[in-house]
């Protein structure tokens, strides 16, 4: 039994640590606070290590770690915030427009990140998991415990809001502006 756990720990490090950067980046934009993201990622690894015996070798370790991350983030938010879930049927005015304005040229990373952080968390979550981490809709649906159709609708709405914020018109009007230095740290 002892030996099994030693083997598990070595296996765990080899399988799980390569994903630390991706977990941290995602956590930063989910909680919008680097200090909290730092703590959450540590909790993710501890939690993952505790249940590593349930992890099936050969299955997707990255998706498994992200599911734990999502749970940790939801737990963190329940502790600190009264979160308002955006109803899936709610259609803000900008989303009813059929015209798609072109994305502004020469957009800086800071501008993109500021726009990303401005969209509702439910949408930001799927945009991060799909566009950045490149999980499939099915994997995201399993991570978030929601139907694939809801993943698609949140992704579509999230991307649409990002497009509006980053369109040439919006940036010219000062929407999707750069964040203030250290804004994350205020949570």
């Amino acid at each position: 039994m002892f030996f099994r756990k030693k083997v598990q720990t070595d296996e765990f490090e080899a399988a799980a640590l390569p994903h630390l950067n991706d977990l941290y980046r995602t956590a930063v934009h989910l909680v919008r606070n680097r200090t909290e993201a730092h703590d959450i990622v540590q909790d993710v690894y501890l939690q993952a290590w505790k249940v590593f015996h349930r992890f099936e070798p050969g299955t997707n370790c990255r998706a498994w770690l992200f599911k734990i991350l999502i749970n940790e983030v939801h737990h963190y938010r329940r502790r600190w915030f009264n979160t308002k879930v955006v109803p899936d049927l709610e259609q803000p005015l900008e989303e009813t427009l059929t015209f798609e304005p072109p994305i502004a040229e020469n957009i800086q990373d800071e501008t993109v990140l500021a726009a990303l952080d401005e969209i509702p968390r439910e949408f930001r979550e799927v945009v991060l998991l799909s566009d950045v981490q490149e999980f499939t809709y099915k994997e995201i649906a399993e991570m978030l415990s929601i139907p694939v159709g809801t993943v698609m609708s949140r992704l579509s709405r999230g991307r649409k809001q990002l497009r509006m914020k980053l369109s040439g018109y919006a940036t010219a009007a000062g929407i999707g502006r750069k964040p203030q230095e250290g804004a994350y740290e205020r949570g």
Binding site: F3, F12, E13, Y24, R25, Q42, E100, P102, I107, V127
Partner: protein, 298 residues
């Protein structure tokens, strides 16, 4: 009340698929419909290109930040603390457990081989193999469509000197930059090199060389590391052999895909040429590209 013309309504229908199209989540048939619509609709092509660009912008922006070094140390530290608790067991117990573990691993491996052998004997294997080859060929098609066509890289001329001196994640690097003049020599004066770079699409990294030719021809050499795929393991029949290298072929709408493989890489010629012209080029370049990839594998 919004007045929507017939064409706009038709475009709206296709645009509803664009997000799933970009994420490679559409059925092959719907994908095909979208591609056909894009061929005849510059406005939708612009919109899809913008959406693809936004996706790339978000990915690059988020990935520009790395975890602080002290986080890695903290995680390792936490695991180390936990691990220490398990190092106090007695050695005999560990050795017995190791022997048991080896037996279990051996047993599981035997079961897996058994499963493979049984699968190979089933009916309908040829049909399944053909679908698998199409799936593998689509890996190359995706990069050509996303990068050369939708991102319009085929219009963005980069000199060979710039490709050689480029650095960063998009640079071809010393491993692949020599493929540019080698491909140019094989393709001859009918084709001009537009650019070569590394790019990412749909969960994969690619090495991508783009050429343009007469009568609007756009041709890509796309190379990607295998991720468990293999033409030979798909048991499919190659359409031709080029100096002993089997070449597999498929057509998706106006695009022709020819693919081959080395031990570690998949390589594709994707173009809007007809089948004979595409296979002709694939047979010319496959031995050279295969040799190049083989040298990298040594």
């Amino acid at each position: 009340m919004n007045v929507v013309s017939f064409n706009e309504r038709s475009c709206e229908r296709y645009r509803r698929y664009f997000d799933a199209y970009l994420d490679n989540e559409l059925l092959v048939e719907t994908n095909q419909d979208v591609l056909q619509h894009l061929n005849s609709c510059p406005n939708c092509t612009r919109i899809l290109g913008d959406r693809a660009r936004l996706k790339e912008l978000v990915r690059n922006a988020v990935k520009s930040e790395s975890a602080p070094a002290d986080l890695v140390a903290a995680v390792r530290g936490n695991l180390g603390t936990r691990r220490a608790a398990f190092f106090g067991g007695n050695t005999t117990q560990w050795m017995m457990a190791a022997a048991l573990l080896l037996l279990v691993i051996g047993g599981v491996s035997a079961l897996r081989w058994g499963a493979i052998i049984r699968f190979a004997g089933k009916d309908g294997v040829l049909q399944a193999a053909s679908a698998r080859v199409q799936e593998i060929l689509r890996v190359g098609l995706i990069d050509h469509v996303h990068c050369a066509i939708l991102s319009q890289r085929w219009k963005q001329l980069v000199t060979f000197e710039e490709m050689k001196s480029a650095s960063g994640p998009q640079a071809l690097g010393p491993e692949f930059v020599d493929l540019v003049p080698a491909m140019q020599a094989k393709l001859g004066s009918e084709f001009k090199v537009v650019q070569g770079h590394r790019c990412a699409a749909n969960h994969r990294q690619y090495v991508h060389l783009i050429f343009t030719g007469n009568k609007g021809a756009i041709l890509s050499l796309v190379i990607t590391e295998k991720n468990g795929e293999s033409f030979s393991k798909a048991d499919a029949v190659a359409v031709m052999n080029a100096s002993g290298i089997p070449i597999y072929e498929d057509r998706q709408g106006v695009l022709e895909i020819a693919g081959f493989e080395s031990d570690r890489y998949l390589a594709y010629i994707v173009s809007n040429l007809d089948r004979d012209a595409s296979l002709g080029i694939a047979s010319q370049v496959a031995p050279m590209v295969h040799d190049h990839l083989h040298r990298l594998e040594l």
